[in-house]
Symmetry: C2
């Protein structure tokens, strides 16, 4: 056991796409577990696009200021515990942050479901991104068998689960992604009926071709031009779930959205999804999805980087769409 806590802190608030130089490596003193607290050693850290919003100070979970340790969810191992619910060696999840050790009260920890293997899935398709997709498909999208569903950022942790859960529920799924390799995986492995590479194809044309009767359900992870293109192709009675804003995380200027005529014309129902509202559905989600994963009905990709010191570069890759699958840091 080291006697220093390795951390990544925010150095500068970037005003566009972040670079690795916007972060700084620190060796802080080891944290100490106080009364009722638990000292945890990080095993895996999740990197997610919403962190860019925290850096900008406009995410609903709050702001990260320069000088502060970056936040993030970890799978960790209990080192010492001052609470009867946890013992050394227990595997837990919590907001450990971009650091090798962290301290938290028992109320902020949750045990890792023992059925989850490999462990890193607890941060991806069986973690918050998976729950996001599950909540959207189960509670907001009002899915009907035969619906043609389109999802953006389709090869990401949320997007790939949205598509595959929808497919299990009887939908035909079209993805939007930014690389031929991602599109290929979605069609050949994940069972999407089609995938549009928005970087090489005309998105509006691609949506018309792949959804000749319009889009019944659209799940959006990006906003911007992608959302605009999809909204003009909605079928009558379409449902839209707005979840992510990748296209605007890297800019300080808040861009406009699609014209309201897109919603009126389609008599669409558009809903905003924030996964925090569905934390109480976590058990239900795991009980439903774990058997699908075990049964090979759900495919996944992970983009694992070794070493916390490489987290800034991995985050930059995530924010520029160069990752493929769930971005994870392995300690």
């Amino acid at each position: 056991m080291t006697d220093k806590n390795t951390q990544i802190r925010l150095k500068n608030r970037p005003d566009s796409t972040p670079s690795a130089a916007d972060f700084e490596l620190f060796h802080d003193d080891m944290p100490v577990a106080g009364e009722g607290q638990i000292l945890c050693r990080s095993l895996y850290l999740s990197l997610d696009p919403y962190m860019r919003g925290q850096i900008s100070g406009r995410h609903i979970s709050g702001a990260i200021h320069p000088g502060s340790v970056m936040r993030g969810e970890t799978v960790s191992e209990v080192v010492t515990s001052n609470h009867p619910d946890y013992r050394p060696g227990d595997l837990v999840m919590h907001q450990g942050g971009w650091q090798s050790f962290s301290v938290a009260p028992a109320a902020e920890l949750s045990p890792v479901d023992k059925r989850i293997t490999p462990l890193s899935l607890a941060l991806g398709i069986l973690g918050m991104p998976g729950l996001t997709a599950y909540a959207g498909m189960t509670y907001l999208a009002d899915l009907k068998e035969g619906d043609r569903l389109v999802v953006s950022a389709a090869s990401g942790a949320v997007g790939s689960m949205v598509g595959q859960i929808a497919r299990q529920m009887g939908c035909e799924v079209v993805g939007i992604a930014g690389a031929d390799e991602k599109c290929r995986w979605l069609v050949e492995e994940a069972g999407f009926v089609a995938c549009i590479n928005y970087k090489t194809q005309d998105l509006a044309e691609g949506l018309k071709e792949t959804c000749p009767n319009g889009i019944d359900v659209y799940f959006d992870n990006v906003g911007g031009d992608t959302l605009e293109a999809a909204m003009w192709q909605l079928a009558l009675g379409a449902r839209v779930v707005l979840c992510g804003l990748m296209a605007q995380y890297n800019t300080d200027v808040i861009p406009p959205g699609p014209n309201p005529a897109t919603i009126i014309k389609a008599r669409a129902t558009v809903r905003g999804l924030v996964v925090y509202d569905f934390f109480d559905k976590k058990q239900e989600f795991l009980d439903k999805i774990i058997p699908w994963v075990e049964g090979g009905k759900i495919k996944y990709r992970e983009d694992v980087t070794d070493g916390l010191e490489n987290a800034p570069a991995a985050f930059v890759r995530l924010m520029t769409g160069k990752n493929f699958g769930k971005t994870i840091i392995k300690f």
Copy 2:
């Protein structure tokens, strides 16, 4: 009985706010009722903002081309009938258009409900605008007692009914209108708790003051900057009904809408409303609302112009917000 049919036809397709010179008065031959048809004499004609969309060729009901008679709903009297369901003297509603006589098959007519008085209300608060408001409040807004509801174009036929129906259902209603006189009427007569004059007040500030806990329900008749301002003030769990696009009817350029973050942040549900989907609710609507009107629970304003020849000028007043209440042409 005259032997000519007076008509207003579209002369030019305006590319911004229309002027009276964009229309032309014609004296056409009298139409003749064929087999199964009815000849009607127009008594009242409804002028509505959606007509501007028809002139632009981008309304969901279709386009009006230069040289064609303007379309519109009328209250008419049957002159001659070749169908057993209708007799001379019967009062009927149909798409009579901007003309003094019209011919239609029985299937396109409906009798005027005998409880409606004055007759012109069949085109306003007890007609399509009233049904629009009723459908939005009953089927799309998911109203809860105590909700703070905001409605734009609040003194118009749709807006004033939205607010008053919501009030009867236990909501506190804030209007947005473009004249102090309109705001005064809404608060003093129609029971709104407040009204913001967007032409003289800062709308965002006004919404913050009148809805300190955010907007629970927003009913939009205008789009543009008004929609943008309202969307940033939504309360958690807000419901938004998008109905009209007054702000963009007079422009050929389709402007953008609000950023999708407004919907995500509030976990809002946004729905598009087109009254055509609710024509089967007309009887239910009248049975519910007529007693409220008779009992004085619903106030209304009509903006009645005498003479079809003055319809173009009245339409221009409507499209520039200079009307006050439901715009009606009396023949």
